[in-house]
Each structure stands twice: as structure tokens, then as C-alpha cells.
């Protein structure tokens, strides 16, 4: 397979509601942003596209994918729609990667959108909960926050993780988003604010949970030859990984941990894995992506990560899946300051200042603060990661606070509920 580069990205403003645009119009905003960022790129040069959106229910429109494809002027070229719950965007990028790696395409657009405002929040929660087994799970009280809450309760029981450690993630992501004009929620919070917010599903409060959004995002991938023509700031997709797990949380086995290169069997002597406390799909995706990219010690070799924090708890669980710390240490990892940005004052005390910012996680603000227009989310992560590696955060956000100096390697992580599909892609500055 041949190398694949990310050459451009664009996003629409994520907002609670964008009634001024249909989903095609939102996709066009993100697509044009990406097109305008590489002036050499013409519509003719794009020879394939992949669209992603999660739910036909939100649009009440089947085949929205082709309707966006025709609106963007990409017919009659090859195109497909990718769907995999919350990981839809990450899968979309990987599908576009496959188009180019296989030689089927030279320049491929990967774009995603979701218009969730067309139904009220609680109906929206119902639609999302239909992404759980409708025979056994949904009728018992189908509610995604409830599912993730059960997972983190087991994490707390197993490892002693605390709600305050979860809250630290919320403080971080909202504060990071303060410097990101594309984010939906830009707030300076304290741990107490998060804990005192209305309880949604114990122990997760409203500030532990992402919100629904309308929005779109787009990245343009290219072969080496095409990338050279288009940009002097290409980013290489150095590795891709994808994992899966059973839809019903109850069905997850209790086996052994698939080890990363920086782990040993004796680290997890008595651990039953993944149970409901960990995401085996996230571990598989990380393991594959690291093997593909040749990464041996993720914490040392990856400069930042944009990961799927639909819940503060899932960010903490994902630190462990991605091997930033050992299983069980996610809460402590959050509280240590390692995933925070060095140059932002979060109003928190960290035990060892020298550890702060070791591997910033969700410098953009993540889903919790940016919003989660499902089909666009994983692609939004790609856009922010691209800009980090290109060093163009200030150009795009008019604020350089969240620019990670000298970022060379970044990871994006996209996750479908309740850990069913997970993708990890490793991106590397290639100029």
C-alpha cells in the first residue's frame, strides 16, 4: 500500500442548531473551507469522496450521503457513505485512506455532518439509544449516558477512580475550548461547578457529558504525488487501526488484556478484561495503529491526542486503552496534569508541575466542549490534528494558545457507543 497524506481540512461552526442550512449546506461550508485552504486544489482533481453521518432518524432522510455528494459537485465520481455510530467520522477518514492507499484514488474528500437539532434533546437521546440492542437493552431504559455511567461505576469500583478526577477532564476540555472559536461551549469551570451541575446519570453530571450539535467537517486526503502539488505542509497518515466489541455491554468478556509494547503480562495479573470498565475496541485500534506506525511508547512518541470524550469517563478509560498509562491509572493520569496544556491556567493544583502537558489530550476542547454532531465529530478531530501538525492553529482559530509547539506526531481516536467500533489514526508532520 502506498503512503497517504492529509493536505487540508475545514469545519463549519458547531452550534446547538443551524436552521439556516440544510445538511448539504453545512457539508458545503466545511468542504469549501478545506478547498480554499489549498488554492491549487480544484473540484476536478478530487476523484473520489466518502461521506459520513450517523443517523437517518435525525434527518428523516435516507441516502443523505449522495445528496451531499451531488450538492458538492462530486458526481459522477466514486463515493460511498460510512456509518459506525460515534466512530462514523474516524471510519470515514480510514475509508478515504483505503481509497488512496489502494491506488483507487489520488485525491479523496472525507466529510461528515449531522443535523441533530431537528428533534428535541430527549427525542435525540432516544434516537441515539436505538444504537443499543432494541430487544434487550433499549426497552430497559435506553439512555447512553446511563450506559457509560454503569461503565465508569465499575471503573470506580475496580480502580478507585473518583468523580473529581472525571471533573478534571471537564475543566480541561472546556478551558481549552475557550481558545477555539469553533467550539460550542467555551467555559472556565471548577471541579465544584462540574460536580454541582444537575446529575444526569450517577455519577455523571451535565458537565461530564457532551451536547448534541449541528455541524460538518471535511478533510482532503491525497497520494504523495498529489500532496506535493497541493501543499507545502502535508501531514502523513502514518498508521491506522480499527477495533470492535459486542454491542451489548453485558456481552463483553472477562479475559486477558491485549498488551501494548510498553506493557507486561504481570501488569495485569488479576485483571478481568475488558468487562464493562474498559474498551477492548479502543485497545485493539491503538495496538494496530501503533504497530502500523512503529510506535513503542505512546506517551513519549505522541505529542498530542484528539480523542472521543463523549463523556469525561470515556476520556479517562481511553487514556488506558491507548496506553498513556496502565489500566486503572486513568483517573490519576487526568489529575496529574499530563493531558493538560502547559500554558493554560486551569485553576487546578497538580502534584508535579514538571509532568503537566506531557501529552495534551483534546487541546481543541474535544466533544465535551466543541459539540458532537456525530458524523462530523471524528473528522473534526482530523481537522484540528492537521492544523496542530501544520502549525496553523493561530491562522485558523485567531488564537495560538492551544497550538502545541513543535508538534510532530498526533493521534486521532474515534469511538462508537458503548465502545463497539473504535478507530485510531496516527498523523505525522511531513515537511
Amino acid at each position: 500500500m502506498r503512503p497517504v497524506y492529509m493536505v487540508s481540512g475545514g469545519i463549519s461552526k458547531f452550534a446547538k442548531a443551524r436552521p439556516d442550512r440544510t445538511f448539504q449546506g453545512l457539508a458545503k461550508e466545511a468542504f469549501d473551507y478545506a478547498m480554499n485552504d489549498v488554492p491549487e486544489l480544484t473540484l476536478d482533481m478530487i476523484d473520489a469522496s466518502v461521506s459520513s453521518y450517523f443517523s437517518d432518524h435525525f434527518q428523516r432522510q435516507l441516502m443523505s450521503g449522495i445528496m451531499a455528494t451531488d450538492y458538492l459537485g462530486l458526481c459522477p465520481k466514486p463515493a460511498r457513505r460510512i456509518e459506525g455510530g460515534g466512530a462514523t467520522g474516524g471510519l470515514c477518514i480510514q475509508s478515504a485512506w483505503e481509497m488512496i492507499a489502494s491506488g483507487r484514488s489520488e485525491v479523496c474528500a472525507a466529510y461528515g455532518f449531522e443535523t441533530m437539532s431537528h428533534v428535541n434533546t430527549w427525542k435525540g437521546n432516544e434516537f441515539i439509544a436505538l444504537a443499543s440492542d432494541v430487544s434487550f437493552d433499549y426497552p430497559v431504559g435506553g439512555f447512553y449516558t446511563g450506559y457509560y455511567a454503569m461503565m465508569v461505576v465499575r471503573h470506580m469500583q475496580e480502580y478507585g477512580t473518583t468523580p473529581e478526577q472525571l471533573a478534571a477532564v471537564s475543566v480541561k476540555n472546556h478551558a481549552n475550548a475557550f481558545h477555539n472559536p469553533y467550539a460550542q461551549k467555551r467555559m472556565k469551570l471548577t471541579i465544584e461547578d462540574v460536580r454541582n451541575a444537575p446529575m444526569v446519570a450517577w455519577p455523571l453530571t451535565r458537565l461530564d457529558v457532551c451536547v448534541m450539535s449541528d455541524g460538518a467537517a471535511c478533510v482532503i486526503l491525497a497520494s504523495e504525488e498529489a500532496a506535493k502539488k497541493l501543499t507545502d505542509k502535508p501531514v502523513l497518515i502514518r498508521g491506522v487501526g480499527t477495533g470492535t466489541d459486542a454491542m451489548r455491554m453485558a456481552d463483553r468478556p472477562h479475559l486477558k488484556v491485549p498488551l501494548l509494547p510498553n506493557e507486561k503480562e504481570e501488569d495485569y495479573k488479576d485483571l478481568k478484561y475488558p468487562g464493562v470498565h474498559s474498551f477492548r475496541a479502543g485497545r485493539m485500534a491503538s495496538k494496530q495503529a501503533y504497530e502500523h506506525a512503529g510506535i513503542k511508547d505512546p506517551l513519549k512518541e505522541i505529542d498530542f491526542i484528539e480523542l472521543h470524550d463523549a463523556y469525561t469517563s470515556s476520556e479517562i478509560q481511553t487514556y488506558e486503552d491507548m496506553g498513556l498509562c496502565k489500566y486503572g491509572e486513568g483517573g490519576e493520569f487526568a489529575a496529574s496534569g499530563k493531558p493538560f496544556l502547559k500554558n493554560i491556567d486551569y485553576g487546578l493544583e497538580f502534584p508535579d508541575k514538571s509532568q503537566v502537558g506531557l501529552c495534551p489530550v483534546n487541546p481543541s476542547g474535544g466533544l465535551i466542549a466543541c459539540g458532537h454532531p456525530v458524523g462530523a465529530t471524528g473528522i473534526m478531530q482530523g481537522v484540528f490534528a492537521l492544523w496542530q501538525l501544520q502549525g496553523t492553529i493561530e491562522k485558523h482559530l485567531n488564537d495560538k494558545t492551544i497550538q502545541i509547539p513543535d508538534a510532530k506526531v498526533g493521534a486521532i481516536h474515534s469511538h462508537a457507543g458503548t465502545g463497539t467500533y473504535v478507530t485510531v489514526s496516527i498523523l505525522e508532520k511531513a515537511f
Binding site: 436552521p19 439556516d20 428523516r60 428535541n120 430527549w122 427525542k123 437521546n125 432516544e126 441515539i128 439509544a129 432494541v134 430487544s135 434487550f136 437493552d137 426497552p139 430497559v140 431504559g141 435506553g142 439512555f143 449516558t145 446511563g146 455511567a149 454503569m150 461503565m151 461505576v153 465499575r154 470506580m156 469500583q157 444537575p198 446529575m199 444526569v200 446519570a201 450517577w202 455519577p203 455523571l204 459486542a246 451489548r248 455491554m249 453485558a250 456481552d251 463483553r252 468478556p253 472477562h254 464493562v276
Partner: protein, 183 residues
């Protein structure tokens, strides 16, 4: 299309937004067509209701079991894996499983209290969700815990012994069974 009430900005009180909307048959239109791009979006209500004839298919015996106050799981005759939520085919080896009756005493593996929920379940909030575990059974079962005060949630509930109770009038839904503390 619904008008926002003109509230005193200093008043904390707020009328809740509803979705009835207004029946409207025409809108003002500019003489100059170039002004159309400034037009506010038109939102119309489109109701959507459907009755599905959902078949439980190979899982049907489980629901027949609930109606007869029995909890059924499945067991793989080939590799021995046992399922607390039934699957007719084994996830580990692919063989066809056999039905067996699960004990009605179990333990809480994990839980949450839902203070909000999907629209369908909002009227039932707060309610308690649990994953049920049995000794020697490899997978769990999602159910509800009834009895304890939902505002007194504590990690101590994990591991508590529970007992199954069944609805007298079966609805052929997984909620035909629920659990109460047994200790």
C-alpha cells in the same frame, strides 16, 4: 415560528418552549429577490409515527420464560461459555447454544441512577439500571433495580445480592423482570 415571549431580562423566570408551532399559510416576500438570501429559515413540523412488528426471533424463548417467571440463559455445548443474556450462537466458537434456567438470586455488577433519559423513559426518572452477574456465568444482564432511594446512590451497591421479581401481567419486554435487594 413560535414567538419568543417578551420577558423582562432581569426576571429569572422563563416560560418553557413548546413545539406546537403555529399554522401559517403565507409569509411576507421581498420585491427585490437579492434580499432572499437574508431570509430566516422556515421550519415546518413533520410528525413521524410507526408501529413495528418486531420479532424476537431466536431469542423468543427468553421472553416466554419471563412470562412464566423464569430467567433463561444459554450455554455453549462445545466450549462451555455461558450467557446471562441469551445468544443462540456462541460468540467464542460459533456453535449453537442450549437454553438453561438461571438462578433468580444474583449480584449487582455495576449500576447507575438515570435522572434524565430518552424521551420514552423521561416520565420514569429517576430509575436505577443495573448489570446483573451470576457466579459461573460468563456474561451479564441489563435490568432495573427497584426499592432503594435513587438519591442515595453509593458504590456500596456494587456486589449487593439481589433477587428477581416478575410482572404478573407480562408485556413480553425485558422489563418483565426486575430486581430487588436480597440481603
Amino acid at each position: 415560528m413560535a414567538n419568543k415571549p417578551n420577558l423582562n431580562p432581569e426576571a429569572a423566570a422563563k416560560i418553557e418552549e413548546t413545539e406546537e408551532g403555529t399554522v401559517l399559510f403565507n409569509v411576507p416576500f421581498p420585491k427585490d429577490l437579492s434580499q432572499l438570501k437574508e431570509m430566516s429559515p422556515i421550519l415546518v413540523k413533520q410528525p413521524y409515527q410507526i408501529d413495528y412488528l418486531h420479532s424476537y426471533g431466536q431469542d423468543s424463548p427468553f421472553f416466554a420464560g419471563l412470562a412464566n417467571k423464569k430467567l433463561l440463559g444459554t450455554k455453549c455445548p462445545k466450549c462451555g461459555y455461558t450467557y446471562g443474556t441469551p445468544r443462540l450462537h456462541c460468540m467464542m466458537c460459533g456453535a449453537e447454544c442450549d437454553w438453561f434456567e438461571l438462578p433468580q438470586e444474583a449480584r449487582i455488577h455495576t449500576f447507575t441512577v438515570c435522572h434524565f433519559g430518552s424521551q420514552e423513559f423521561l416520565p420514569q426518572c429517576p430509575f436505577i439500571l443495573i448489570q446483573v452477574e451470576w457466579d459461573g456465568v460468563d456474561t451479564l444482564f441489563l435490568s432495573r433495580l427497584v426499592g432503594p432511594d435513587p438519591n442515595e446512590a453509593t458504590l456500596d451497591w456494587v456486589g449487593r445480592k439481589i433477587r428477581a421479581r416478575f410482572l404478573r401481567l407480562s408485556k413480553f419486554k425485558p422489563t418483565d423482570v426486575y430486581f430487588v435487594f436480597a440481603d
